[in-house]
Structure formats: C-alpha cells, structure tokens
C-alpha cells in the first residue's frame, strides 16, 4: 500500500508540475500554428508571474493578479508581434530579446517596488489561488485505491489546474472546428493562400499572439500564485523552453501536447521524489544527476523518439507579398 500511496503522490505532483508546461505549450501552439516562432514563451511567463504576484499582493486580490498577469503577458506578445509581424523582424531575435527584457525588468522593478531582493511579498490567503476541495473528498479519503485517487489526484487543486486541462479540448475545438482555427492553421502553412482568399495575414497572426499571451500569462500566474506564494527571480527556470520542446514532441497537436507535458512533469516529479533515496541495483545517485534527468531525457526523446516532426511550413518566415 505504501507503494500505491507513493505512486499517487508522484502522479499528484506530476499534475502540479505539468500545468505551467501545458499552458506554455498550448500558448506556443497558437503562435507556431500561425507561423510565428515564439522562443519568448519563457519571458512572457516570467513577466506574467511577476505582474500577477505583484498585483495580487498590492491589491489583495488573486483575480486582479491573474488579470494583470494576462494583461502584461499579452502586452509582451504584442511587442513580439510588432517586431516580427508588422516590421517582419527575425522572430528568434525578437523572442530572445523578450526573454532578456523579462529577466532583467522583473528583478529591477521587484527591487524598486518591494525592496526584497527582487522578490514580491509573500502572498496571503485570498491573494493566491487556493486548492478547491471537491465534495466528499475528505469522506472518501480512507476508501482503498479510489479514495486517494479522488481526494489527491482529482480533488484539491487550484482552479488554474483545472483550467489548464480544460484548455486542451478547448484548443483542439478552436483549431479544428472553428473558422478562426482553420484560418490560423492556414496562415501557418501558406500565408499567401490566406491573403489571396481576402483575409488579413497580419491581423490573424496578431490574434494568435493574443491567445499566446493570455495562456503564458495564466502559466506565469500559476507559478507565482499557486505553486509558489510569491514571485522569485527567474522562477520560470527554463520551463518556456521545455514547453517548446514538448510542442515539437507533440507535433503541434493539442492532445499530444497534454501527454508530452504530463511526461515531462512526471520526469520532474520522479526526479524530486528519488532525490536522496537509493535506487535498487544502482545504489545512491547524486542529486545533480537526478535533477538533470528530465533534461537529459528531453534531449533523448527529441533526438530519437519522435520521428519526423513537420513544423508549420510558414513558421519563422515573415509574410511579404510577392513583388
């Protein structure tokens, strides 16, 4: 039974750890499907995390914090759009610039406003998103097998966790069942076809980036207002890049993206769980190795196991009308 409890605990943290990846991954999906590479997911998450925690702590409202996180993150997405859609700049350069601006500005503003070494004040109850306990979760806690699954895995997460997983079918529906989704996919494959059909390529791509900004904003808010009780500098710690890796691994498909992010989350959870405890046969493994494991596996998975991943054909190429 101890093994079972341990498994449930690992799966529980898998869910918690996958959420920011999943939100960022879906965010990347909107922009890359529209033909805009977005290496700046990391930076947008970071500004979202900072803006969310800062606003929540100043206004004492979790919802205002979330709103601010989304607003600032969308604003950064628009900067990316202005550089790479309107001015046809290099999308990688623009994305990297956003990451640098985010890393620097969050620390400077954090220090200027709160004088806590770049942190925001610890969030009080009501300023963060608390866990939602589902009805009957306490009552069934002791029921074997189903009890822990219901009370730990399904119940007891923040609203943002449920939102993140609901975004998966929603994104699928948007992409494959709506006019916006059809045009979004088309503009990432052949913008000239969209242009000749009488649809504005630029406006379509801006709208895709707004979707990206909203989702990275939520991802950032999750980091600083759910996973952590406040903003800490560089708290995204490469999650934006892992999300991009997951996006390629998922071949730009929403449901695959969920499984890819769960896998990366699981590796992360496993490495945390196994830190310090000796493995059978191998014995004690250095902590650093366990921490590096998810990243090593990321490289291996991306290099060998996904087969041919065909990205949206117009990805990374600014649209210029012929002649």
């Amino acid at each position: 039974m101890d093994v079972f409890i341990a498994i449930v605990q690992i799966l529980d943290s898998t869910i918690r750890l996958s959420v920011p990846l999943l939100l960022a991954c879906l965010a990347g999906l909107y922009s890359e499907r529209a033909g805009i590479f977005d290496i700046g997911l990391e930076g947008k998450m970071l500004v979202g995390a900072f803006a969310g925690a800062a606003a929540a702590s100043v206004f004492h409202s979790a919802l205002l914090g979330l709103g601010m996180a989304i607003l600032i993150s969308v604003a950064f997405a628009m900067i990316h759009g202005f550089a790479s859609i309107t001015h046809r700049g290099n999308q990688i350069v623009s994305g990297v610039a956003i990451n640098f601006i985010a890393a620097g500005s969050t620390i400077i503003l954090g220090q200027a406003w709160f004088q806590q070494g770049g942190r925001t004040p610890a969030l009080q109850p009501g300023e963060r998103f608390d866990a939602i306990v589902w009805p009957g979760a306490e009552a069934v806690r002791d029921v074997p097998i189903l009890g822990p699954i219901y009370s730990q895995l399904i119940s007891g997460h923040s609203i943002l966790v449920y939102l993140a997983f609901l975004m998966v079918p929603f994104t699928w529906w948007v992409l494959f069942r709506t006019r916006f989704g059809l045009r979004l996919r088309a503009v990432g494959e052949n913008p000239a076809a969209v242009d000749t059909a009488g649809i504005s390529v630029a406006w379509l791509r801006y709208r895709a980036l707004i979707c990206t900004g909203i989702l990275t904003g939520i991802a950032g808010a999750y980091l600083s207002m759910v996973q952590n009780g406040g903003f800490v500098k560089d708290m995204t710690a490469g999650k934006g890049y892992i999300a991009l890796a997951a996006l390629i691994f998922a071949k730009w498909k929403p449901v695959n993206a969920m499984f890819a992010c769960l896998l990366f989350g699981f590796l992360d959870a496993l490495s945390i769980r196994l830190q310090g405890s000796p493995l059978p046969i191998i014995g004690k493994v250095p902590v650093q190795f366990m921490q590096a494991l998810p990243y090593i596996l990321t490289v291996i998975l991306l290099a060998g196991f996904i087969g041919k991943a065909i990205p949206p054909r117009a990805g990374g190429v600014p649209y210029v009308k012929e002649r």
């Binding site: 006019r179 059809l182 088309a186 076809a193 000749t196």
Partner: protein, 510 residues
C-alpha cells in the same frame, strides 16, 4: 460582340522606375475565352494582379459588367465575381480539398455548416463542369492537375463569373493540359468568361476566341484567334520576325566524342531509371533525346555529367573512360571538355542569391583567367561577364545584379553563356528552353546549331517535341529507361509520340 465582362481603360502602373503597364485598354467579352500573351516581364501578370486587387493601378479605370468598379483588395474582386487561378497555387497543402475551398468563404464562425454546404456545392460543380475531385483528399497527395482543379473550384465556389488563369499549363503534363482545356470550354458554354494568360502560342490557338498581345508594358494588339497565326502573334510579342524553326544545314558528323555503353543507373529509391543504354555522340552533330518527363532522361544526363553514380556500363569521353562510381568530379569532366547545362537551373545551375558575374564563372572559378594569386580577380571576372552579357544579349545588361532578379529566359542564357564560352568539345543540355520566351528560344537554338557547326558534339534532352525535331540531327526516344527507337529529324510528331508512349517497339535500342 457580346456585352463586355471586363473593360480596362487607360491603366498605368509603375514599380519604381519600371513602367509595368502603360495606358492599357482592354475589353473582354462575356462568355468568351480571351488569351493574353506576351514575353516574361511584358506586364501580363501585373495587369491581372490589378484586376484581382493585389495592386492598385496608378491611374485608369476598371469596369466590370459595364459598371465602374473599385478593386482595392482580393475581397473586392471576389465580390465582383472575379476569380483567379495563380501560377503558383494558393493552396494549403496539408488541408483537405474542402478546407481549402471554404478558407476565407466560411458561412459562420463554426466550420460544420460551411463544410456541409461546400460538400453539396462541390457535388453540383462536379456535375456541371466535370470538375471531379475527392473533397476529402489532402491537397498535397493530389496530382498537380487535380490541385489546379481545386483552385478552379475555389474560384467557382466564391461565385466567380470571370476566371483568370495565370500560366495554367506550365506545371501540367500534356494530358492534364488537354483536360484543363475541356473544363475551360465547359465553363465557357455555361456562360463564364475565361481569361488565359500564357506565353505558349499553341494553347492560344487551340482554345481562345480572342487574343491580346502585350509587349514591354503596352497592349500592342488584339485579334480574333481565327484570323491570326502563330507567326503573327510571335512577331507581335517580340516586336520582330521570329523563326519558330531555326534553319540549319546538313550535319557533318565526325569522330565519336562520347560513347555510352550498357549504362544502367538507379535513382535514390533503388529504382532502375536508365536501363542498359548505349549510344554514340559524334563531333558536329546534335543528338536529341525525346521522351515524356520521368523516363530516365534526367538520370542519364546526371550520370554522364558525373553528378549521379551509375550501377554498370561505361562512358568514354574522347576515347578515355569517365569514372562512373560517383568519384567522378564534375570539375574534372569540365577540364576534359565536357560542359553541362543542367535541366534544373535554379537548383543545380545557378546560385540565385549571387550576382550575375559570380554565376557566370561558377565551376570555372579555379581557372587562372579569373584568379590573381590565391584571390579572385574581380575585374577580370566582371569584364568576362560583361562580354558574355553582350554576346548572349542577357537582359538587363548588369553583371552586378542578383541572379534571382533576371527572368527565367535570361537565367538560362547566363548558364548557356557560361558553359558554351568554355569552348567544350561535348555539350550536354537539359531542357534548353524550359520557361524561356519565344524570342530567346530562337536565340538559344541558333547558338546550339552554331556550336554544332563548329564541330562540337551536342546532346539535347527535352520534353518539347518541337524543339527536339527542330534541333536534332538524330532523335533517340527514351521510354521506361530504355532507348526504344532512333529516328531522323523529319519523323512526324505522331510517330515520335507513339514511341514516347511506349506503343511501338520496332527499331530497338542501338
């Protein structure tokens, strides 16, 4: 004359200093097929882009159905019932036919109703015009001819009454082109107006009712197709008399320069593309290899020029063997006097991002003439390029211009000039005039015959039967990797056509 579907009055359009359209007047009658011909860069595509709302005319008036129309975007054009089939298809390759058809013409925010509506509409169009295509097929899995049909369906689905086709047959096989023409005639019978832009005069004669000729941005003439001839149109296009068939004397074939024996070549998938081929190429003759594209001609050329490995067989150049194991260096073959004008000039023959003068020495850049010590002698290279530009009438005459900015015909001349001016003993040319204007075709044919008359051995591979018949002293027909016959230049097109289709196997390989 029936009521005009489109009237263009005094259209002007400039791009910077280039006047692409000057004072164009054109009237296209409803329910006809109207051809617009002209050389590359004559302004045909610009004019049609103005009509479709891609560009705005600097001045002038457009009337559609007798009413003045303001066409600022493709949407305006679509609303006026103008549809366009672009030369490079505007399709999303990994979408289904249905998705491509509804893109931009969806009935509401959700796709379900749009798809259902498009499905029944496509069935109707299929019945009325014989435009058969599986609505659920993925576009990239369709043959080129079918993809083009999807483009036509897209326009018709949007209610097009006037259909503009820009160089529609450039990518089609002859059979697909015939099918397209049947569809266009069907559209005409149903009262649609078709505008066909092309530089292939044969198509104009075969299908149009009226034809307008453009030259250097102006509309030089409009004729009833019945009352004109290919010769007249060619003259109007180029501005001077054009020989559609170049005069040449008897060949004086000399020694064997290139001897191919039992050559077998496989492609990258391991399929045998050249199957046990033998032939000789002599000094002072042009040998043409005819065949439908994809019957091994490309692989044969690549093997002889040292680009592709051969499985077995031998090729002797001036009595000495060429290494066919793949170790052959095309540069070494060049030194031995074998020059090669590749079929695909964009991928193999030129670096489009280079300046013209750089391309004009590509592959010969180790020649001491172009070097100063270990460095390139830029002055010598540019002087040399200017000479070639003058001699081959390459336009624009600017050796510093990026090669991508030259028209297809002039790019071809750059490659030809480079290879011919090295004075090779053997010249191998793939598709000498693909995508080249009438005027330039005449020029290129004359140069090739001049090479022959200087005693060079010339091997020409072309899918254009006219070209093969007009140039060759001997014609070899390839089918399924084998030479299925040798004929003289006087052989009829019908007979060669049958050989190319693999129907007649008499007169086996040499």
């Amino acid at each position: 004359m029936a009521q005009a579907a489109i009237e263009l009055i005094g259209i002007n359009k400039s791009f910077g200093a280039v006047r692409a359209n000057r004072d164009i007047n054109l009237e296209i009658a409803r329910g006809t097929i109207h051809g617009i011909v002209g050389e590359n860069g004559a302004g045909k595509s610009t004019l049609m882009s103005i009509l479709y709302g891609f560009y705005q005319a600097d001045s002038g008036e457009i009337r559609v159905g007798g009413k003045p129309a303001s066409i600022k975007t493709p949407n305006d054009a679509i609303a006026l019932g103008i549809g366009m089939v672009h030369q490079h298809f505007m399709l999303v390759d990994n979408f289904s036919v249905l998705e491509n058809v509804i893109l931009g013409a969806e009935s509401d925010a959700l796709l379900k109703r749009s798809i259902a509506k498009a499905r029944s509409e496509l069935e109707r169009l299929e019945r009325e015009y014989g435009l058969e295509v599986d609505p659920d097929a993925i576009v990239e899995e369709l043959a080129v001819g079918l993809q083009q049909r999807v483009e036509i369906l897209k326009a018709l689905y949007r209610g097009a009454e006037i259909l503009i086709l820009d160089e529609p047959t450039g990518v089609l096989t002859p059979a697909e082109a015939d099918h397209l023409f049947r569809i266009l005639k069907q559209l005409k019978e149903q009262g649609k107006t078709v505008v066909l832009i092309t530089h292939k005069l044969r198509e104009i004669m075969a299908i149009t009712d009226t034809v307008s000729v453009m030259r250097q941005g102006t509309m030089v003439a409009t004729r009833e197709t019945k009352k004109t001839t290919v010769e007249e149109l060619a003259e109007l296009m180029v501005g001077r008399r054009v020989l559609l068939r170049v005069e040449k004397g008897e060949a004086a074939a000399g020694d064997v320069k290139l001897a191919v024996k039992n050559l077998t070549v496989r492609d990258s998938r391991g399929v045998t593309m050249v199957d046990d081929i033998s032939f000789d190429l002599r000094a002072g003759e042009i040998v043409g290899i005819a065949g439908v594209a994809g019957n091994g001609q490309s692989e044969l050329l690549e093997a002889i020029s040292g680009i592709r490995r051969a499985v077995s067989g031998s090729v002797m150049l001036d009595g000495k063997p060429i290494d066919l194991t793949g170790a052959a260096d095309p540069g070494e073959l060049r030194d031995r006097g074998l020059a090669h004008v590749p079929e695909d000039r964009h991928h193999v023959g030129l670096v489009l991002a280079f300046e013209e003068n750089e391309n004009s020495i590509l592959g010969y850049h180790d020649d001491p003439r172009y070097l100063k010590g270990p460095f390139l002698n830029i002055d010598a290279i540019r002087d040399d390029a200017r000479d070639k530009i003058a001699k081959y009438d390459i336009r624009p005459a600017d050796c510093r211009l990026k090669t991508a900015n030259f028209s297809g015909g002039n790019q071809q001349k750059i490659v030809l000039a480079r290879e011919m001016e090295q004075d090779p003993g053997v010249l191998i040319v793939g598709q000498p005039t693909r995508g080249v204007d009438v005027g330039a075709i005449e020029f290129i044919h004359k140069r090739l015959i001049a090479m022959r008359d200087q005693g060079k051995a010339v091997l020409v591979v072309s899918v254009e039967l006219d070209e093969i018949r007009s140039l060759s002293d001997r014609i070899l027909v390839m089918f399924a990797g084998r030479i299925v016959g040798e004929r003289g230049p006087e052989t009829t097109e019908g007979e060669l056509g049958l050989l190319m289709a693999g129907v007649e196997h008499r007169g086996a390989a040499l």
